[in-house]
């Protein structure tokens, strides 16, 4: 069974149509990249799948593990095994990062019928993951994403993905704003999670991340539609030629 199946998905925001009929399958064990110029609807796609409110599905269907996804609340989607790494992780005053991470892990553990972790057990789990993401321990004590650099915010997203162990991870421009070292750490975090069960939908503007996280499939999104799909070579072709050659047929 596919992890994700999108059929003719149409999405609007504030009355303006952004996605105009997306068809896409993500089978287990595969990394799919969604590329495209600014404003093509890449972020809308993953935000809609995660359940962000301002997006309205006007037509079509989305199945996650064979079941309807769109009727469920965001927290239910997460508990089913869906994860979104945010392009712009929000800052939350007054909430320590460590507390937030544990609350998230325990919310999923409860849903899965697994025991909740106390602060001490959790710290043990956290320490090794923190080390792997090359994050300073002090980032746990700070308020969520407060005073984090751009790179630290993105690492914090991948850290959450590793702790929450989703079936399908949606990564929204996780590579943007990262220097090359941070990019490698983030890519290593993603690659460490790849296995035969788990799938990834990686949204990116540049091909850069795909040098380190080699995708099984690449889809090009233009103006709310997938205009081209291919293997990793397509990403390299886009890097060389840009998106313009794909925009032409749209205008005709």
């Amino acid at each position: 069974m596919n992890l994700l199946e999108l059929r003719n998905l149409h999405v609007a925001i504030e009355g303006k149509m952004v996605l105009r009929g997306i068809n896409l399958d993500v089978p287990p064990g595969e990394v799919h990249a969604v590329m495209g110029p600014n404003g093509s609807g890449k972020s809308t796609l993953v935000q809609t799948l995660a359940g962000a409110e301002p997006y309205q599905v006007t037509d079509g269907q989305a199945l996650f593990l064979g079941k309807d996804l769109l009727s469920r609340a965001p927290e239910e989607r997460a508990r089913q095994g869906l994860f979104l790494a945010f392009q712009y992780p929000v800052e939350i005053s007054g909430l320590s990062n460590a507390y937030f991470l544990r609350a998230s892990v325990n919310a999923l553990n409860r849903a899965r019928g697994e025991p909740e972790l106390d602060a001490v057990d959790f710290l043990g789990v956290l320490r090794s993951e923190l080390l792997a993401m090359e994050m300073k321990p002090e980032l746990l004590e700070r308020f969520v994403n407060h005073g984090f650099s751009g790179g630290e915010k993105k690492r914090n997203e991948i850290l959450q993905m590793k702790l929450l162990k989703p079936r399908l991870a949606l990564l929204d421009e996780t590579d943007s704003g990262l220097d090359i070292d941070a990019l490698k750490v983030v890519a290593r975090g993603i690659n460490a999670m790849r296995d035969r069960e788990r799938g990834f939908l990686v949204v990116t503007h540049y091909q850069r991340l795909l040098d380190y996280v080699v995708p099984d499939r690449v889809h090009v999104l233009v103006n709310g539609r997938i205009v081209q799909s291919g293997d990793a070579d397509l990403a390299r072709l886009l890097e060389k030629r840009g998106y313009d050659w794909l925009l032409e047929p749209q205008r005709a």
């Binding site: 508990r79 007054g94 909430l95 999923l108």
Partner: protein, 422 residues
């Protein structure tokens, strides 16, 4: 000692009371002309959003006497007023005979009669109060707790507190206003009589003195309390104030701070929790009257259904206050679409070369932040709770005393649980 435990301050007159009586009568007399409601006062505009008449201000002052108790540890036992080499804590009446110069110099100096009708009303009606004096150079390691309570059946009270720190003195003072009458709940369907409290705390800090002042106000649905904290800060002194307003039908608090000495600093942090239908009004007036003075204000409120939270913040930077810095922030978190909030900053800057900033926000929980938490599997109810707690935690995390932080945190948790239910 046991008999003394609950002894009201007012009966603990010591020799010299005749003088005190005379002085008190003189003070009452002086205040009368200012307490008349038809005399226009400078600051009437700050009453724009709170009806003054709600405080039942009348001329006839034949009201029951409040009990003012002073406690060091409210969990164990009450202790009589105390005097050590480190500090003096006594009734104003006693202080009048033992520290006559201090009382006559400082009483009514920080809370001037002519600026505020309620000050005149208090000054014209108070019978006694609390006097706390930390002599120059003394540092108190233990916090002092002053608890002001009402005797059962009290319908009006005029508490008065005078806190004086000599040069270089250092102290932590917790002032608790418990505006309930200590009786058990009235039978259901019976409204308790409303109570009017008009309290004043005056503070004077000598040069390089440092006071950390905690103020806790709690009441019940029949409480109507107006209070003033008026402080004068000498050169290089520091005043840190943390105020927590837990519950009360109608609360109005005013801060009147005068940064008189060069390099003096003030920090005001306020958290107000408003349950259904409550009305809280905070007014701060800060005058930077000397060079290189600093002020930071963070006024926060969590506003429940049909409740109203008001903030008015006046900062005046005098021409002499070169190189001063003032920062004012006000945040209202509205938990319901029927909650209301108002914010009115007023900045009066009389000199260049100063930094003065202010910011105000008012709104419901941020939807993007809620979505972020929910996308991690946290349900909406818990996500809301986490965010509201986060808002109050910004206040709590800054509290230096661990004991008070824990005490207020558990109090906040209790009120929030009720607020979130409704």
């Amino acid at each position: 000692m046991m008999e003394n435990r609950l002894e009201p301050v007012l009966t603990s007159f010591e020799p010299g009371q005749t003088n005190w009586r005379t002085w008190l009568e003189h003070t009452h007399h002086a205040a009368r002309p200012w307490s008349s409601s038809d005399r226009p006062l400078i600051r009437d505009e700050s009453w724009k959003y709170t009806r003054k008449s709600a405080f039942n201000i009348t001329d006839g002052i034949t009201l029951p006497t409040p009990v003012i108790r002073t406690a060091f540890d409210h969990r164990t036992n009450w202790q009589p007023l105390k005097r050590t080499r480190q500090w003096s804590l006594m009734s104003l009446a006693c202080a009048y005979s033992e520290h006559a110069d201090l009382v006559t110099t400082f009483f009514g100096k920080m809370a001037g009669l002519q600026t505020r009708q309620l000050t005149a009303l208090n000054t014209g009606a108070f019978r006694d109060g609390i006097f706390l004096y930390i002599p120059p150079g003394r540092c108190l390691s233990e916090p002092i707790e002053l608890t002001l309570m009402l005797s059962p059946g009290t319908t009006a009270a005029f508490p008065r507190v005078l806190i004086l720190l000599g040069a270089g003195a250092n102290a932590h003072v917790m002032e608790r206003h418990v505006w309930t009458d200590g009786l058990s709940q009235p039978p259901s369907g019976v409204n308790p009589p409303s109570r009017m409290i008009n309290s004043i705390t005056e503070i004077h800090l000598g040069e390089q003195a440092a006071l950390t002042h905690y103020l806790e106000q709690t009441g019940d649905p029949s409480t109507r309390a107006v209070s003033l904290t008026a402080a004068h800060l000498s050169t290089d002194s520091t005043y840190q104030s943390f105020q927590y307003d837990g519950c009360g039908f109608l609360l109005r608090h005013e801060h009147d701070i005068m940064l008189k000495g060069r390099g003096s600093r003030v920090q005001l942090d306020v958290l107000s929790l408003l349950s259904k239908g409550e009305h809280h009004d905070h007014q701060t007036r800060l005058v930077h009257a000397a060079p290189a003075t600093q002020s930071t204000q963070r006024i926060r409120s969590v506003v429940g259904a049909r409740a109203t939270s008001i903030y008015g913040g006046h900062i005046r930077i005098s021409p002499e206050a070169k190189g001063s810095e003032a920062a004012q922030n006000n945040h209202h978190l509205l938990l319901d679409s029927s909650a209301r909030a108002m914010s009115r900053p007023e900045l009066e800057i009389g000199v260049d070369d100063v930094r003065c900033t202010h910011g105000a926000t008012s709104g419901e929980l941020n939807q993007d932040t809620l979505f972020y938490l929910r996308s991690r599997g946290i349900d909406q109810r818990q996500a809301r709770h986490i965010l509201i707690t986060g808002f109050t935690e910004e206040f709590l995390a800054g509290i230096p005393s661990e004991t008070i932080r824990a005490h207020w945190r558990s109090n906040v948790d209790g009120i929030l649980a009720k607020l979130e239910e409704s």
